[in-house]
């Protein structure tokens, strides 16, 4: 502690943190006095220095005056300072820092999408006593223009092959059904997430039929209501399907469908704000951590790191605020890999635990909206073809949403969110037109692209603490099914944080260790 206090860089002092926000070479133009300090009257050395650099014209003046030189320059500086202290001056000791995040926060959640907000909600809901934990959610884009949540197609299903995925989805459906009890805020209107209980229809060819049967068995064991259909039953039920090449189909009867993810996001946001969680519009640029060396039982040296501060940089400015925190939760979605790198995850020789990076990266996915006047009717479920192409109905006007995941070789460049319309012509339309003959005539109305937080290891989420960076928790990497598991994942992470272990749904197969140990959680039904 003492050594850190004496370090010039940090300059924290006995009275708490330093004076003013730490600023780069910003030329904000106004005299920023000390921000957020605790009443100390120590003349801020740093701000004195910045005062100088902030006013280059002043230097020019001293040079310009002939014969008077430096002496007069200093006097006028002091005069200006005195003037600013007096009333009507520009100096305001009680500066408004409400746009900055707080200096201390127990939990900092990096990422304000549906997963981050869900973790915040459950932390505040499960904490004992109420109001004990200070939570800060840091989101760098309040318009959510690139967030996976807002750009998602919004489906929710239980047709997975991993039991944990099914349990997560079942709880999330129960959460969505009772959303107005979970997220009720007094005096605010209830939420309408516009759920379509139309179910999912997964089609399998000869090759995938056995896998589908075993998956359905697991799903039924967990409590999902899924029925298997032969091609003939399929034709009876949905006459618009061409069952050529389909050996088996699984149809979810209940608890499956699609909904409006934006409404869920705003509902969570509103509720979480009413519970006292602080929001910050900024970007995490740095983690300040300390490391300690220990030995494992077998004598190996291990370096444990602990994050002490999160530097949150404000939007469109160089100003940043160091937030002292106890825990960091990485819910940054597609950008979680970068956040993990900042925290020192993966800095080590490859093949070791230190060198295991978080294998989450951005992947771009396209969604197309088309109109087909003779298309399938109101009963259309969310159809996922054996080839990987999917579509669902949207609204009453015979509009359909759909897309397809590209293969590894055809992955588009995730640098921007531009839509490639040729991809629809070449890769999405043919399989869908083959499956639904009515789709031979359609007209694409619009399209958009969004990011998957793609887990390159096994396309399933990463949940839980990192073994070496001891106070960083992950809740990311869901590769396209994060929205439908968000409420349950939030609860699991909150249980891990508050109790140290999973209480309701056991997500131990989803811990970070599996990347080092090589244990893949194979999920067959990934779109």
């Amino acid at each position: 502690m003492l050594r850190r206090a004496l370090q010039p860089g940090l300059s924290r002092g006995v009275l708490g943190r330093g004076l003013g926000t730490h600023r780069g070479r910003s030329t904000l133009g106004k005299v920023e006095g000390s921000g957020g300090y605790r009443g100390s009257w120590v003349a801020p050395v740093s701000s004195y220095v910045t005062f100088r650099t902030r006013d280059p014209t002043h230097d020019g003046k001293t040079v310009g005056r002939l014969g008077e030189g430096d002496q007069n320059g200093k006097v006028s500086e002091i005069k200006k300072k005195i003037q600013s202290v007096l009333p009507r001056g520009a100096w305001n000791p009680l500066r408004d820092t409400s746009y900055l995040p707080p200096e201390h926060s127990d939990v900092v959640i990096v990422g304000g999408g549906v997963i981050g907000l869900s973790v915040a909600y459950w932390l505040k809901r499960l904490e004992k006593p109420q109001g004990a934990i200070r939570v800060l959610v840091v989101e760098r884009d309040h318009t959510y223009s690139q967030a996976s949540t807002a750009l998602s197609v919004g489906g929710i299903r239980q047709q997975f092959s991993v039991p944990e995925n099914i349990q997560l989805s079942l709880f999330s459906v129960e959460f969505l059904r009772n959303i107005n009890e979970y997220l009720a805020v007094v005096d605010d209107p209830p939420l309408d997430i516009q759920f379509n209980p139309s179910g999912y229809l997964l089609l399998a060819s000869e090759k995938g039929a056995a896998v589908m049967e075993s998956s359905v068995k697991v799903q039924r064991q967990e409590g999902a209501k899924v029925c298997l259909m032969s091609p003939e039953q399929l034709r009876n039920k949905f006459p618009w399907i061409n069952t050529e090449g389909v050996a088996l189909a699984s149809y979810g009867m209940e608890h499956e469908g699609w909904f409006d993810p934006w409404c869920l996001l705003q509902g969570l946001r509103r509720k979480v704000q009413s519970m006292g969680v602080l929001f910050c519009h900024g970007e995490v640029t740095r983690f300040v951590s300390s490391s300690s060396h220990t030995e494992t039982t077998s004598g190996e040296e291990v370096t444990l790191r602990r994050i002490h501060e999160v530097h949150v940089k404000m939007d469109r400015s160089l100003e940043y605020q160091p937030v002292e925190c106890a825990l960091v939760i990485n819910a940054a979605g597609a950008w979680s890999g970068q956040i993990a790198e900042l925290a020192g995850v993966g800095k080590g020789p490859p093949g070791t635990l230190q060198g295991t990076q978080l294998p989450v990266e951005l992947r771009k996915r396209y969604v197309y909206l088309w109109h087909c006047p003779q298309g399938p009717g109101l009963e259309t479920p969310f159809v996922i073809d054996a080839s990987g192409a999917y579509f669902r109905r949207e609204g009453l006007g015979n509009n359909y949403l759909g897309g397809c995941s590209p293969t590894e070789e055809e992955e588009p460049d995730p640098g921007n969110l531009e839509v490639d319309h040729d991809f629809f012509q070449d890769k999405v339309w043919p399989p869908l037109a083959q499956r639904v003959p009515a789709f031979e005539t359609l007209k694409v109305r619009s399209a958009w692209a969004g990011y998957y937080d793609y887990n390159t290891f096994d396309q399933n989420g990463v949940v839980g603490p990192h073994p070496l960076v001891v106070n960083m928790y992950f809740a990311t990497g869901f590769s396209g099914h994060g929205l439908q598991q968000a409420p349950a994942v939030g609860r699991a992470v909150a249980e891990m944080v508050l109790d140290g272990h999973f209480r309701t749904i056991n997500l131990s197969p989803f811990l970070f260790n599996r990347f080092y140990l090589g244990e893949k959680v194979q999920e067959h039904n990934i779109i």
Binding site: A150, L151, S152, V153, G154, R177, E181, A184, V186, D187, P189, P190, L191, D192, Q194, F195, N196, P197, S198, G199, M253, E254, H255, G257, W258, D260, P261, W262, C263, Q266, V367, G377, L378, E379, E394, G395, L396, L401
Partner: protein, 272 residues
Amino acid sequence: MAAPRAPLHLVTPVWNRGTRGTRGLSRAVAPEGSQKKGRSLLRFLADRFYDVQALREYLLRKQVLKVHQKNRPFTYIKERFGPHAAGAYFILKQGGAVKFQGKEWIRSDARGHFSLDFLKFQAVPVEAVDASGCAINYQGLDSVLALKELQSLWLQRCPHVDDWCLGRLHPLANSLQELSLAGCPRISERGLASLHHLQNLRRLDISDLPAVSNPGLTRILVEEMLPSCQASLLSSNSLPGLGEVSHPRKLHSPNPLTSPYLATTTSRNPCS
């Protein structure tokens, strides 16, 4: 964005109508001015004092729990007398009416009392359920779904029946022939899309659904989805102006004209 997003405020007037209907069974509609003033005062206090906020949250929670309590399952009756008797008891307790096969309609009187004679019926199936105006919700439908030979289900003006409940009705597909959802404030066209499992449905009443955005188009699409079913937008059962205040007991008596065994004339809406 993903789906055309209806603004949240669109739901508010619908919600208010529904809850005022169930809460205001015993009192007349309060004058708007005083209600608004009282509400804004409470809001002012709740924004500034944690105690008031906690109290209001507690009262809200209690309301929700009241509905849950009304929809609790009667497992003892189910085990002792069978699912039909348990379902009938549940509906009668909520204030609805039940018709057993070959018997008359049984309903509770104005004070909520009803005779327990039906418990003596040995495995006589329930044929028709009239749960209009009852506070039945997703959980409460458990008791109704156990009635495997139900032919006619009336859920008019139920404030807690929503799209999720409609997605649950598929176990009744073999027997259900008549379904009435008139006046339910929370049902939208998305829930109606899940009715395609009910292949034996002959009459469907979807009139006066405030949350359905386009009633005429919805009716056409539902009729395309269920070819042998008649979907009606103007029901002879619904009385004018029943959106807000619901008096389920007095005014709604089982009308012989709407019995499933008699032909009915339903006036069709000209396509708009």
